[in-house]
């Protein structure tokens, strides 16, 4: 008889070679799918509220081990104890999202398990005693295939996919032990977090390809034609102060998810691309055909923005 929803289990009773460690729902179904395609049974360790465990159960795993977080205690506080608990399960593969709490969970578990740690995982397969992993590396310029006789703890580098699971997995409580001494003291909306670029359906973002602040009028005109918000890369807000800081898009700025993101004169540093990871269609305009933004982009024009922007406006009007 399977345990009820509040039964307490040990990880070694869950009979899963592959574990997904989740502190939120980001890329959950894609990670479950990647572990499943590796040929492993899949368990999710969901560290958070009951709603996270429910979301994990619908993402297609065989089972969910739920670690309930106490009020004002972040998931990271459970990382050392969860790591010790998971080492008993002796998984071959672990996967987590490359978010701060996801990484903290993975790092502790990886060391407890004696596994290697690999970022950017796209695909995994377990072949005999070896785990083979494809990962994206060098900012997406190459895919590297790696093999290891050790368990592999990976940070997921693939895209999200919808869950096709028809059945909900059982949720079992995992008593991971006492959390570390970490408390959330205060949570406030970040400046500019409501409205503006964070909720925009279309964004025109400007970068260092613009030579002067007065030239931003070109981008504003294009944004008006597209019904888009203006965003920018870090130097434009931070070094030059040409655009308000709440419109800076990047890892430590706004994370945006528009249907259309037009990056103009932006090279595409890793920290900027992290902020547009959830954009649906990315268009890049840059003079440098080797700019990393073209690797992330769906469409591109290699050219001088001072010529391309007026041409785009004209084409939109046709």
């Amino acid at each position: 008889m399977s345990p009820g929803p509040d039964a307490r289990v040990r990880t070694d009773e869950m009979n899963a070679e592959g574990w997904v460690l989740a502190a939120d729902t980001r890329r959950l179904a894609a990670m479950v799918s990647a572990v499943r395609e590796a040929g492993c049974g899949v368990a999710v360790a969901a560290v958070g509220p009951r709603s996270l465990a429910e979301a994990a159960a619908a993402a297609g795993p065989d089972t969910v081990a739920w670690v309930e977080t106490a009020e004002n205690v972040p998931a990271e506080a459970y990382a050392p104890a969860l790591g010790r608990a998971l080492s008993a399960a002796r998984p071959r593969v672990l996967l987590a999202a490359a978010t701060p709490p996801g990484r903290a969970l993975l790092g502790a578990a990886a060391i407890a398990l004696g596994s290697v740690v690999v970022p950017g995982i796209l695909r995994l397969s377990v072949k005999g005693d070896t785990v083979v992993a494809d990962r994206t590396d060098l900012g997406g310029r190459v895919i590297q295939t790696l093999g290891s006789g050790a368990p592999v703890a990976g940070l997921f580098g693939g895209e999200d996919v919808p869950s096709h699971a028809v059945a909900r997995a059982p949720i079992e409580r995992l008593d991971a032990g006492s959390p570390a001494d970490i408390r959330i003291e205060k949570t406030e909306p970040a400046s500019g977090a409501s409205g503006g670029v964070t909720t925009a359906d279309r964004i025109v973002a400007v970068g260092r390809g613009f030579k002067a602040k007065s030239d931003l009028g070109l981008a504003e005109s294009l944004a008006a034609a597209l019904g888009a918000e203006i965003g920018c890369s870090m130097p434009i807000a931070d070094d030059f102060g040409w655009v308000a800081r709440e419109r800076y898009i990047g890892r430590s700025g706004q994370h945006v998810s528009p249907r259309l993101y037009v990056a103009i004169g932006i090279s595409g540093t890793p920290q900027h691309l992290e902020g547009v990871r959830d954009a649906k269609v990315v268009v890049a305009v840059n003079t440098d055909p080797q700019a990393p933004i073209f690797r992330r982009g769906d469409y591109g024009i290699v050219g001088d923005l001072y010529e391309v922007i007026p041409a785009l406006e004209a084409a939109l009007g046709e």
């Binding site: 790092g107 502790a108 290697v116 590396d137 570390a180 003291e185 268009v283 046709e318």
Partner: protein, 244 residues
């Protein structure tokens, strides 16, 4: 007690050349300061000042160790013969061994590098300490570490007991890069070099590379021709995709 800031602990991926067959040439690239390293130094300074304790810089590999000295770090420790390792856990084990060698450390701050996101967390695991990553500022108040970080659309203030590992993420470019005078003065200051052998040797890199290749898809469809022609093609494609 000491605060350690880890800097220049990885190579810059932009220093690697990718050939048309997908092979990678690092062209003798050295360990370089990452874009988050100045933020790590700033966080380290803030915590050390609030606690009234020392700030020690730790670097591995062949980069210029005086980088942190030029930024006000009192003492620099380098492991010059440390190799660049594919396994983030192996890099973390090497850093953890060096931190234990320094001794009397209860806070470690490391740049939360986008290209090597497993290292800060694995370092915390190797030390057996909690990790808080993506931190933008931190200090020490009433016996606890207090850090701010961005989580989605929110800014979170988190407090931690000691010891702890912080991954510092740059919220802006370096505000005050040292001038030539500070750089030259730093180069004259001693750096404590610790050979790998003294830390137990190179951790085994348990990952075998079976090759690299250029991604088949993933690059943008680039529209050619005059600006007017390229723009018309782009707008047509966006309309066909239903985003316009």
């Amino acid at each position: 007690m000491k605060v350690v800031v880890v800097y220049k602990w990885a190579r810059d991926p932009e220093d690697a050349a990718v050939r048309s067959d997908g092979s990678v040439d690092w062209r003798g690239a050295r360990m370089a300061a990452g874009e988050d390293d100045p933020a790590a130094v700033a966080v380290g300074h803030a915590i050390a000042a609030a606690r009234g304790c020392g700030l020690v810089g730790l670097t591995i590999g062949d980069g210029d160790a005086s980088w942190a000295l030029a930024r006000g770090v009192e003492q620099a420790v380098a492991v010059p013969d440390a190799p660049s390792l594919t396994d983030n856990a192996a890099t973390a084990a090497l850093l953890a061994a060096a931190i234990r060698w320094i001794g009397d450390v209860d806070v470690v701050v490391i740049g939360d590098a986008e290209a090597y996101p497993g290292v800060p967390a694995a370092l915390a695991g190797a030390l057996g300490w909690p990790a808080l990553l993506g931190v933008s500022t931190a200090t020490f108040e009433c016996g606890r570490l207090v850090a701010t970080r961005r989580v989605g659309d929110s800014e979170q203030v988190v407090s931690l007991g000691l010891p702890a590992v912080f991954g510092a993420a740059a919220a802006s470019g370096e505000k005050r890069a040292p001038g030539m005078k500070e750089i030259l003065a730093a180069r004259k200051r001693p750096v404590t070099a610790v050979p790998l052998a003294e830390l137990g040797g190179t951790p085994p890199d348990r990952l075998e590379s079976r090759g690299t290749r250029v991604p088949e898809a993933g690059s943008a469809r680039v529209f050619e021709g005059s600006p007017a022609s390229a723009a018309r093609q782009l707008v047509a494609a966006l309309r066909a995709d239903g985003v316009l």
